[in-house]
Symmetry: C2
Subunit: 349 residues, 2 copies
């Protein structure tokens, strides 16, 4: 079996995340939204079903592009739609980064960025965050041969956000495009979309999975200047977005009051969760996302994770070699968070 590219052979086997199909688990491990999506989503899907599924979907998903463009104050040709924001990240990487070329991303962050570099046969420089999750000038130093930089903003697992002004400075100094992955931005206090107009090197990726409670439909999009979008269009699969997903995503971004109400609830629960975790002695980073990052060097957090799982509460245990370890806990409903806190209390006695 030596048919595969050496970079593919060298990759670790694929590890799907824990997605128990048993309803009784309290699932705070994959940052899904605890609330159902806007009711407009189901109506939009039913309308597509009434019209049938026989035809190919619109290749560019123009109905979504028009609405997203209005929302963000750009033109539709600034928008590229994807089968989840993972598809957007895949398209951007394939278009920009060749074999043995170089990508840069902070560490720790979303592991997919490194995986995409591996699939391309590219090199990458993970730049360590400072202990306070800030990112210094090293992110742009010695970067002449870079083809792509990616920053998750807010970041996972930390939930922290780099200020748009600093992102703009990074983009000025980098020789290559900077993809700002705003998968969690619907829970944050700032975003980087205005930077896209100021600098063609800034690109912003968005996801419908978290803020809009639509992880099941797979829809994400990119905002970038039209000459870049035009080139990415060459790389995407022709019909990369499902007809039901296009309709669902369009209905979802149109329902601004749903988003505002959901956000208010999640942010209130997040504040309470952070306070309670600090009360029991965990170190918790302030969060701009729908999850929190809790560490405590004096505790065996791998063991806490296992004990929580035995009590049917799933959170994410993440250990980063050369960095630290912690629990990433998604902000659920108030009831889910109370159940988690009770279970956690039982592990700490």
């Amino acid at each position: 079996m030596n048919y595969f590219r050496p970079n593919i052979e060298a990759m670790a086997a694929y590890q799907p995340g824990e997605q128990p199909r048993v309803a009784k688990f309290i699932k705070l491990n994959t940052n899904e939204n605890p609330y159902p999506p806007s009711s407009a989503v189901r109506r939009a899907i039913e309308t597509v079903l009434d019209g049938g599924l026989v035809r190919y979907p619109d290749p560019a998903a123009d109905v979504f592009r028009r609405r997203a463009a209005e929302l963000h104050g750009v033109e539709p040709d600034w928008i590229l739609c994807g089968n989840g924001s993972d598809d957007i990240l895949t398209i951007v990487t394939r278009a920009l980064v060749g074999e043995r070329e170089r990508m840069r991303m902070p560490y720790p962050s979303y592991i997919l960025y490194e995986t995409l570099a591996d699939i391309q046969g590219a090199q990458y420089d993970p730049i360590p965050y400072e202990q306070d999750w800030s990112l210094g000038g090293t992110f742009t130093s010695g970067a002449d041969d870079l083809k792509l930089a990616i920053i998750a903003n807010p970041n996972s697992p930390s939930g922290t956000q780099i200020a748009p002004r600093q992102i703009a400075e990074f983009a000025e100094r980098l020789p290559c495009p900077l993809l700002v992955d705003e998968a969690y931005v619907d829970f944050a206090s700032a975003d980087c979309i205005s930077l896209v107009r100021e600098n063609e090197k800034v690109m912003v990726a968005r996801s419908l999975s978290k803020g809009y409670a639509l992880a099941g439909i797979r829809f994400g999009y990119l905002i970038a200047q039209p000459p870049l979008i035009e080139r990415f269009m060459k790389v995407k699969d022709s019909y990369n977005c499902n007809a039901l997903a296009i309709a669902a995503a369009t209905a979802a971004i149109d329902d601004r009051s749903w988003l505002a109400e959901m956000r208010t609830k999640v942010l209130a629960t997040r504040t309470r969760l952070i306070e309670r975790l600090r009360d029991v002695g965990l170190q918790v980073t302030d969060s701009e996302a729908n999850f929190v990052w809790a560490t405590q060097p004096e505790l065996d957090l791998g063991r806490v994770y296992e004990q929580l799982k035995e009590m049917q509460v799933l959170v994410r245990y993440l250990g980063y070699p050369g960095w630290n370890e912690g629990l990433r806990i998604s902000v659920g409903t108030d009831d889910q968070v109370d159940a988690f806190l009770n279970a956690l209390g039982a592990t700490l006695v």
Copy 2:
């Protein structure tokens, strides 16, 4: 703007196919099924909607893999699910073909194979079909440096099929995997699935878009030996299949009587369409697909295509440099085909 890989810059701009959103067009240009999908599909989608879209879908789509494995007499780990069979083709190419490496495919065939080579920065050898759409020993000659060969079987635009025995011989002689793209096989008299067990180099791609009337949901799959599937899993996006699409595809392949009835109708209409086209003097290749390929050197077929379009009948005009030109006409309902034949008659007077 010199951020992009040279192979991406060199590619022609993306050209979506003609998908008029006006219902009055008779659309026989993109080989969609003229009949609505099994009614089980909508029920399956409604069931997912009842459960909600908040969660990520199953990364491997195991519910589909189990049913497809039963259908084809293999185990679930012989199946890889994709966001349309285009996604399958993309995954396979990314896993096997590096920059400056080499792919091979017949010519004329599905243009995507060449596009995928271009995106990889790879080389490709289009091997011309003989005038009778057979493919000789040149397909496997001088092939030492090949990393992937792809044959659409049935082929587009011809609708012809290479016998499984000859495909097996190609696979024996090739140094690399041979992907048999069976997107149109539900309308054919043979398939190559039994070859996958005999030779690890044979892989078969399937689509739900044509035979199952589900172009809108984007679902396809690959049948290959488990060591290959395992490696392709590393390359796919983690959640590449939409939750609604997984349920729809599973319900669709379960409804064998729907498939049999649809096939009987399409094949009867195909026979009639071919006879009538020959009656009016067109040269039509026998077809194993849900479309037919009509040529006639004495006619200006580009002009016929334009005239049909003016009469709101869309077919596909395809010209292949160094080869010939023709009209590819999808097999619609009997009424659609009658309307096409009437319009065609008007262009020929």
